[in-house]
C-alpha cells in the first residue's frame, strides 16, 4: 500500500454531515458576531468585553493548533512520557508569570498590541521594527498551518493539495472577515471542546485495545525503549543530551525558562486573547485559567501517542528501527492512523471536525493577530495616520483578505520545506527570544533606552539567524532541535548584552513617562485590579488560581513521574 492508501480514512455520510454541521455553526458565529462589530476596536480586540473563561479557553486554544496537536501526539509516540515537559515545565510557570507579573503592564498600558506596548515603553522605531518582524512571522506561520491543513485534507479525504489549501483559506477568511476577533475567539472556544471530543474517546478506545493502562505500560516496557518512555526524567532522547544531569538542566533552563517564557509572554497570538478581556482581573486570569486545561490536556495527547507506538505497525517499526519513515509513514501520522484504527464511523466524523478545527484555530490566530498589528502599528501609526475609525475598520477587513491570500502563497513555500517542526522552531528562536530579552530588561530596568531596544532586538535576531546558518552548513555539529535551543539562548544573551551596552551611551526617557510601564516606577495600586462585582471572590484571585495550577503541576509530575 502507498502511504496515501494507509492514511485514507473511510468517512461515511454521517461523518461528513457532522463535519458539515460544525462548519455551518462556525460560519454562523461569524455572521452573528458581525452585527456586534461597530468599531475597529470591536473588530480587532473584541471591544475588550470578553469574560475570563472565554479568553482563557481561547488563549489555550490559540496554542492548541494543529501543528501542536499532531506534533505532540508524534512526540508522545516517539518519546513517550517526557513529552509532558512541553506542557508542564515548558508552559505552566510562564503562563502564571504572564498573568501575575506581566499582564498588569500589558493590559494596564491600554496597548492594543505588543508593538504598541513597545512604542509606549521605548520608541516608535522599536514599534515599527517589531511590527514588521511580527507581520512577516505571522504570515509565514499561517502558511505552515494552511499547508498542514491541506495535507490532512489530502490524506484524509483525498482532496488534492491545490484544491484543499485555497478551500481551507476561504473558510478561515470567511469567519474572521465576517466577525473579526470575536468570531475567531468564539470558534476557538468551540474548537477546544471539539478537540477534547476527539482526544478523549481516542484515548478511551485506544486504552481498551491495548488492555488498559497496565497493558500499555507492560507493552512499552517490553518495547524498544525498555521503559525509558515511561519516565519524564531525565528525558535524554527528548533533549538529545546524553548526560542525564545536563539533560535535566537543559529541560529546566532551556525549555522551562528561555524558550517557554519567551514564547508565552510575548507571543501576540496568545497575548491578544488576554487583551480582549473585560477587566484587568479577567485579563490576569486569562493565561492562568488557560493553564489548567494546558496542564491536563497532555494526558489525552501523550497516551494516544504511546498507544500508536504500540498498535500501529509502521510506528512500532519506526521506534524499533529508527530512521525517518517506514512505508512513507512518519511519527507525524500517528494521530490520524490511530483515529483510523480505533474510531468507528460517527465519532470519526467528530474527530475529523476536531482535527480540521485545530488547523483552522492555528491559522485564524495567526491571521487575526497579523491583522491587528498591521492595522494599528503599521497602517494607523505609520503609513496612514489620522483617518476615521470607519476607515481603519475597512482596512482591517481588507488586510484579513490580503493575509489569507499571502498565507496561500507561504503555504506553497512551506510545501517545499522538508521538516515543518524545525522550520517553526527556528522562527521562534529568531523572533520570540530577542523580544523576550527586550521585554524583561525594559520591564525591570528603568535606565533602558529606546534606541537600545530595537538595536538589541535586531542583534538578537541576527545572533539566532547566525546560529541557525552555522548549524545548517555543519560548522556546529548539533541536531536541529539543539540548534534552535542554542539559537534561542544566543538571541537572548546577545539581545540583553547589546541593549544594555547601547543603553549606557544613549539618553534614557524621563521617569514620569514610564509610570505603568516599568516595575519600579509603577505604584503598587496601579498594578492591582479591582476585586468587586464580577471580579470578587477568592476563586477569582489570579494569585490563588496561579498557586493552584502550580500545585496541580507538581502533583501531576509526582503522579506521572
Amino acid at each position: 500500500m502507498t502511504a496515501q492508501e494507509i492514511l485514507r480514512l473511510d468517512p461515511n455520510i454521517v461523518d461528513y454531515l457532522l463535519v458539515a454541521f460544525y462548519f455551518v455553526l462556525v460560519l454562523g458565529i461569524g455572521y452573528a458576531a458581525r452585527r456586534s462589530v461597530s468599531s475597529s476596536l470591536d473588530f480587532l480586540l473584541s471591544g475588550r468585553s470578553m469574560p475570563a473563561w472565554i479568553t482563557g479557553l481561547a488563549f489555550i486554544s490559540a496554542n492548541l493548533g494543529a501543528i501542536e496537536l499532531i506534533g505532540m501526539v508524534a512526540n508522545g509516540a516517539q518519546f513517550g512520557i517526557p513529552t509532558v515537559h512541553y506542557y508542564w515545565l515548558g508552559a505552566i510557570p510562564a503562563m502564571v508569570f504572564l498573568g501575575i507579573v506581566m499582564m498588569p503592564f500589558y493590559y494596564g498600558s491600554q496597548a492594543r498590541s505588543v508593538p504598541e506596548f513597545l512604542l509606549k515603553r521605548f520608541n516608535r522605531t522599536t514599534q515599527r521594527v517589531q511590527a514588521v518582524i511580527f507581520a512577516v512571522a505571522s504570515i509565514l506561520i499561517a502558511g505552515v498551518n494552511l499547508f498542514s491543513l491541506g495535507l490532512v485534507l489530502e490524506a484524509l479525504l483525498g482532496w488534492p493539495l491545490y484544491v484543499a489549501i485555497p478551500v481551507a483559506a476561504v473558510v478561515v477568511l470567511g469567519y474572521i472577515s465576517l466577525g473579526g476577533l470575536s468570531a475567531a475567539i468564539y470558534t476557538e472556544v468551540l474548537q477546544f471542546f471539539v478537540i477534547l471530543a476527539l482526544l478523549i474517546p481516542l484515548t478511551v478506545a485506544g486504552l481498551n485495545r491495548v488492555g488498559g493502562w497496565d497493558g500499555l505500560t507492560r507493552a512499552v516496557t517490553e518495547g524498544p525503549s525498555g521503559g525509558a518512555d515511561l519516565n519524564a526524567w531525565p528525558g535524554t532522547p527528548l533533549t538529545e543530551i546524553e548526560n542525564p544531569f545536563l539533560s535535566v538542566l537543559g529541560i529546566v533552563f532551556g525549555l522551562g525558562f528561555v524558550l517557554s517564557f519567551g514564547y508565552w509572554t510575548t507571543n501576540f497570538a496568545e497575548v491578544q486573547r488576554a487583551l480582549s478581556a473585560k477587566s484587568m482581573s479577567a485579563a490576569r486570569r486569562t493565561p492562568i485559567i488557560g493553564a489548567f486545561p494546558k496542564a491536563l490536556v497532555v494526558l489525552v495527547i501523550v497516551t494516544p501517542g504511546m498507544i500508536a507506538g504500540i498498535m500501529i505497525p509502521q510506528i512500532s517499526a519506526l521506534k524499533a528501527e529508527g530512521g525517518e519513515a517506514v512505508d512513507g509513514i512518519t511519527y507525524n501520522n500517528a494521530l490520524s492512523l490511530l483515529m483510523k484504527e480505533v474510531l468507528p464511523n460517527g465519532i470519526l466524523g467528530v474527530a475529523i471536525a476536531g482535527l480540521l478545527a485545530a488547523f483552522m484555530a492555528g491559522m485564524a490566530a495567526n491571521i487575526s493577530s497579523f491583522n491587528t498589528v498591521f492595522t494599528y502599528d503599521i497602517w494607523q501609526d505609520w503609513v496612514r495616520p489620522d483617518r476615521g475609525d470607519r476607515y481603519y475598520l475597512q482596512v482591517g477587513r481588507l488586510v484579513t483578505i490580503i493575509g489569507c491570500v499571502l498565507a496561500i502563497g507561504t503555504a506553497f513555500i512551506a510545501s517545499g520545506s522538508q521538516n515543518l517542526m524545525d522550520y517553526i522552531q527556528s522562527l521562534f528562536s529568531f523572533f520570540n527570544a530577542p523580544l523576550f530579552a527586550i521585554f524583561i530588561l525594559g520591564l525591570f530596568w528603568k535606565r533602558m533606552t529606546g534606541p537600545s531596544a530595537w538595536i538589541g532586538l535586531l542583534s538578537g535576531t541576527a545572533a539566532a539567524v547566525a546560529v541557525d546558518v552555522l548549524v545548517r552548513v555543519g560548522v556546529l555539529e548539533i541536531s536541529n532541535q539543539a540548534g534552535s535551543f542554542l539559537g534561542a539562548i544566543a538571541a537572548f544573551v546577545v539581545g540583553v548584552g547589546v541593549a544594555g551596552a547601547v543603553s549606557m551611551v544613549t539618553a534614557p526617557r524621563a521617569e514620569a513617562e514610564l509610570t505603568g510601564l516599568v516595575w519600579s516606577l509603577t505604584p503598587k495600586d496601579a498594578r492591582t485590579h479591582s476585586t468587586t462585582g464580577d471580579d470578587a471572590g477568592w476563586y477569582r484571585s489570579p494569585a490563588v488560581l496561579g498557586g493552584a495550577v502550580l500545585v496541580l503541576t507538581v502533583v501531576l509530575y509526582i503522579v506521572v513521574g
Binding site: S38, L190, P344
Partner: protein, 111 residues
C-alpha cells in the same frame, strides 16, 4: 438581515426572556452575544450527542465497531457524555443568564 441572526440565538435563552436586548438600552452589542457562546456550545454538543446516540443504538454493537473500539459502544458512550455536557451548558445559561455590564464600561471606550 441583522435582526434574523439575532433570533437564531434567542430561543435558547427563552426561559430568562427579559433579555437585555429587549430593554432598548444602548449597551455594547458585543456583550449581548457574549454568553450566547454557551448556547452555541450546548447546541453543538446536543446535535453531536443525539447523532452519536442514534449511531450507537443502531450500529454500536456491530462486531466491526466493537473490534475497533476494543469492546465498548464508543458512539453510545460519547453521545451520552456529549448530551450531559450540553445539558450542563444549558443549565448554566439558565441559572446564570446574561447580565449586562454597567453602561459606562461599554460606552466610554468607543469615544
Amino acid at each position: 438581515m441583522t435582526d434574523e441572526s439575532r433570533h437564531d440565538h434567542q430561543p435558547d435563552n427563552d426561559p430568562e426572556s427579559d433579555d437585555p436586548t429587549g430593554t432598548g438600552t444602548p449597551i455594547s452589542t458585543t456583550a449581548t452575544n457574549l454568553f450566547d457562546l454557551r448556547s452555541v456550545i450546548a447546541l453543538l454538543f446536543g446535535v453531536y450527542g443525539i447523532v452519536l446516540l442514534i449511531m450507537g443504538l443502531v450500529s454500536g454493537n456491530d462486531p466491526e465497531n466493537l473490534a475497533k473500539t476494543g469492546g465498548t459502544n464508543l458512539n453510545l458512550d460519547t453521545g451520552i457524555g456529549m448530551l450531559v455536557i450540553g445539558a450542563l451548558f444549558v443549565l448554566w445559561v439558565w441559572l446564570r443568564p446574561l447580565r449586562v455590564p454597567a453602561a459606562p464600561d461599554g460606552g466610554a471606550e468607543r469615544s
